[in-house]
Structures are given as structure tokens and as C-alpha cells.
Symmetry: D3
Subunit: 130 residues, 6 copies
């Protein structure tokens, strides 16, 4: 079982990250992932900074699309925690049951055709090279 | 090297699939993936039917989002062909260089946090269970 | 590029393994895999002993079935060398083009349903538990 | 936990698939995988059609060999559900404990040598290229 | 659930392996991995011989470094058993909480950059080729 | 082929990262990975910051051990670029051919036993739980 560091028992360094998570996400809730990483403050800090930069800053992809991509990877890697947490985040951003089912279908299909491409040793078309 | 079946040498069964690919995608071009699968017509036929159903029929996810999800899986699995072909498809549907770079960043990040969640043995939060 | 150790330049320890490979497989040909492992004789020796034990000794599975299983794993892991070498071995044991295409189809399908099972969070049926 | 759709609560579209599963497999039992996919009928329908085509139609590979290949992929991908369900199917088709143990050994071995081939950067032998 | 073969019920062949595990590791404790493999004595024997050769014999890498590498692979593959057992072994050889957290960080980072290298299609530098 | 951004054509933002890479690594050489990431400056910047923090700052693991762990993951994921670049880095920090061969052997072994643990469904020993 993971050791989970609660805000009350956390060092100032960890509290600063928790505070930033709360401010960025506009919620009091700190999920277990961060409480577990807090056993090693440098890992907590740099991971949060990257997640914040990749997932929470303005960019060309909208927030829901980012979550769908995150779930696609997590399903491929069989990560139960990440699927559960990012599915919750995606639902809060508008993912319906229909969208989730379509997402899972695409993930399944791509995992299949990735192996067909390899098994039939398909050469990349010239028109696909940039 | 893969054996690639051209339209001219193809059986009627294979030609029927090629014709449907052309009609569905509104292009004369048949990419190597299908030409390679054509060595085994049942595989060609059922794979195309699934790709058509998952990727080309109306649904809750728009066509570009579906391609981004496809690429996310293919990058995680290290499938050069699938990344090249679906990146080309995604660009035709509006993916910019900026969007691609953000996609790759999310794929990298998710592959990282999938292992952090496992390494720190993080229990799924009750609020993430449905 | 790998360093490949030829029989003529090999130490007695390496030659003994090469001799056993030749005797077991009833062929003079030593493939590159073994010539590359020969740079580290303990790795060469223990790997060959395991391959010989798992693949070449009598058992409940016939030699062709063993090769098909080997290819299934290698396709899933995207190992070009292992697919090429074990496909050649499988053909020598009777694998036809038809069988290979069916094998690739099953590998693709299983890679798909593995993710569907995860994505839809399917609980194991009681009747499947032993 | 997955939502499982029972026959009694299912739509006509879902019941038609369940009926075909029962007729094809000659059993009344519908396993959880299908009951979970039934939340999204298009996914249920196309997945069953592909499983039926790949696994249940006559071909060059016998039914037991197909199951062994399926298990090999599922073990490599760490899919508990798929290993459990297809092991049960394989036993019904004649897989003994001995055969299962040999299967697991080959899967382990291939996962090992896939990395040795990569680590020692082994070039594909000319005789393995077709 | 696995069948676990205890020493008392084991055949002479299995007992000989258990005795060697005890002598090599200087402990009476046989962990579940070996008790489960004992259902198929040839798998037990050859797996132990390889583990003993790779992990327990003198070489260029010290015992703790070997365990860290083992955990890195097991985290990447999401193998709960192997992470638990080799983390215990690593702690017995000196791994601190700090070292474990750094290990997990590196594993996460490498899993991320592996995909960035693929996504940005980075060519291998000439200076990295030997 | 990747677009590679050279120092001369780089923006100030990219040059600042290149300068920090050079100062941190005490070398003029910027490898292709960074030149490719430079097409998207935010990805370049945050990736370098994490690599610098995880790999180049003082900690409980020595620099060579960190590189060995990096290679172990990259071999498991079949990332040619990462194996090549981190093998070069590891050699500069003292990795011998002997050490590399032992590393590859451990990576192969762990990939094997990860599947054996799954295939034989081994329960985690109570003594391995913390």
C-alpha cells in the first residue's frame, strides 16, 4: 500500500505544490497520485510542473481532447489508476458514455492494426513521408 | 518485404473491398496497408469493415479526434507505419504541427505517469470509482 | 551494428555451444542471434540451454505450435528479428501462408480485445476461475 | 465495476448478438466480456463479428492452436480477463496442464529473446528474408 | 489462484531445486514464485538455473544494481509480483526509500522520452553508433 | 525525417536551453533528440528540465546506475534512439562491454519472469508487502 501524505502532515515544500494543484484545478481535492508522490518531494514537484504545463496551459488542443489522449495511452498500458482518474477528469470536461465507448473502440482497433502492419511487414507509403 | 496486391491483379473479392475504400474515403489512393492485407482476403475484408465502422461512421467523436487517439496508441506501441499513415490522415483533417507536438507531449507524459502510479502503488480514489 | 563471432574466431567455450546448436538442429548454419550473443559467452550458453530445453525437447506441444506461439509474442512486442527467424523456422516445420495470415489475425484480435476488456473493466466470470 | 447487460434487459439489437453467440458456441452461457460490451451495441456487434470470423470459422489453424496463440498475446500484455477466459476455452478444446505450462514457458522465453535481439542489435540474416 | 507446491509435498526433483535456492540465498524461505513454477518441474529447474546464473553469480555489476535493473523492467511491464519481490530483495541489499523513488523517477522519465524520440522521429546521431 | 533545429537558426528561447544543456553536460555537442524537440519550444524546455532534474542532479543513485536503469527501460520498449544515446552516455561514465552484456541479460530475464509470474498467477508473498 502506498504511503499517502495528507496536507496537515506535509512539509512546506509539499504544501506549496498542493496549494498550486488546488489553485490550478479550482478544487480542494488532492487525489491519491499526488499524495503518494509526496513521499519524494522532488518527484512530486517536477511531475506536477510537467502535468500542469502539458495538461493545464492553453494550447492547440482543447482540454477534453487532451484527456482522451491520456486515457488512450493508459488503456494501452493497462494502468488502472490512470484510466480511472483521467476518465473522471474527462467526464467533468464533457465526455459522455458514448464518447468513452468510441474511445475504447479506437484504442482496441489501433492496438490490432499496429500488429497487422508489423505482421504483414507493410512498407511506409511515399506519400506518408514528410 | 510485403507482397502488395495491386487492383489490376486483385480478385473480385479484393476489388470489392478496394472499391469500398475508395468510395468511403473519396480518393483513388489505396495505401500499402490494404495492399498487404489483400494476400489474405478474409483479413482484408473484416479489418476494413472494422476500420470503416470505427473510424468512418458518424458518432460522438469528430474525425480528427479519432485520428489523434489512433496516433496516441501507435506512438505508445512504437508502430512506425501507423504513426505515418494516421498522421497524414490527421493533417488532412486539420492537425497542425502545434497540435501534433502537443499530442506527442501528452503521450510521453501519460507513459511516464502510468509507471509512477504503479511504482508508488497508488490506490484508486473512491471518487474515481463509478 | 552487432559484433558477430564466427566459428573460426570463437573460443572453445563458444565453439562447444555452436557445435551443440548444429547437432540439435541438424544444420551447419548458425544464425546471427547466436553469433551476436557470443560476445558474452555466459549469455550465449545459458540462452541456448533454455532455448534448447523449451523449444527442442519432446513435450506436449508439437514443434510447429511452439513456433507459432513464439511468433505471436514477437509480433506483439514488435521484434523484427524474432519474427523473421521464427517465421523461417515455422515454415520449415509446415507453416503455410494461410496459417501465417491466420496467426497474424489472431494476434491482432487479441491485442484489440485485451484493451476492450480493460476499457470496459470486465470482471472475470466465476466459471473462469479455477 | 462494469455495467453488465443481461439478456432480459437487452435491446433487440443486443439480443440478436447474444443469440448468435449462443448458436455459434453451442452454449447458453454469455460471458461477462459480451455483457460489458453491450453497453455500446456497435462495439458489441463488430467485435463479435470479428471474433466469430477469426476464431470460429474453418481455417488452416485448428481451434486449440488459435486459443494458445490468443493466450500468448494476453500473457504478454498482462490481461487477466483474457488469460482466464481463453484458458477456459482452451481447456475445453483439450489443453492439459502440461500444455499450459509449456505455453507459458515459450511466452516467457520469447519475451526474453525479443530483448536480447534488440540489446545485441542483431541484424536479420539474409536467409530469413523472403 | 496458483497451485503452490510446498517442500513436504514436493518430488525429489523439485526438492533439489528448493535446496539449491536455499543454499544459494542463505535462507530457508522459498517464495511463491518458485512454489508456483514447481507444478511444472522443467520450468522450475531451467528458470532457477537462469536466475541463479544471471543474478547470483559474480560479475561486473554489483547485486544491488542488478535488482534495480530488474525492478525497472518490472515497473515498465506492470508486473506487481516482480516489483514486490525484487523491491524486497533490493532493500535487503541496501536500497533506501530515496533510491527507490529515484529509480521510479528514472523509469517514468525513460518511458516518456522513448515516446518523444519516436514521435519526433529522431535519427540516431553518428557519434552514438559504434 | 525529423526537422533538426541548429543553434544558429534557433530562437532565443531554444538557445537558452541549448546553452544550459552545454553547461550542464560540459560539452559543446547537442544531440539530435534536443534538436528535434526544439520544433516545439515548450516541449524542449520542460523535457530538458525534467531530464536535468532526474539525471544530472545529486542524489542517492550514482550517474552510471541511472544510465543503466534508463537503458533497461529503453530495451524493454524497443527504443533504438534511447538505447544508442544512453549506452554512449553510460560508456562515458564507465560502462564496460561486460557490464552492458550483463545488463541486457537481466533485462531479458526480467521480461521472461514477468510473464511467468502472470502465467502461473503467483500471489504476492505476505513478506513482500510493506
Amino acid at each position: 500500500m502506498a504511503t499517502l501524505i495528507e496536507y496537515e502532515q506535509a512539509s512546506d515544500e509539499v504544501r506549496a505544490v498542493y496549494d498550486d494543484i488546488r489553485a490550478t484545478r479550482k478544487t480542494e481535492y488532492i487525489n491519491n497520485f499526488w499524495k503518494a508522490l509526496a513521499v519524494h518531494p522532488p518527484t512530486l514537484k517536477r511531475t506536477w510542473e510537467m502535468v500542469k504545463s502539458v495538461m493545464a496551459q492553453p494550447g492547440a488542443l482543447d482540454p477534453l481532447t487532451r484527456e482522451l489522449i491520456y486515457i488512450a495511452v493508459s488503456l494501452t498500458n493497462n494502468c488502472e489508476y490512470c484510466v480511472a482518474s483521467h476518465s473522471t477528469a474527462a467526464r467533468a470536461k464533457g465526455m459522455t458514455d458514448e464518447m468513452y465507448a468510441e474511445l475504447v473502440s479506437i484504442v482496441g482497433l489501433a492496438n490490432m492494426t499496429n500488429r497487422l502492419a508489423h505482421g504483414f511487414n507493410v512498407p511506409v507509403d511515399d506519400v506518408f513521408r514528410r
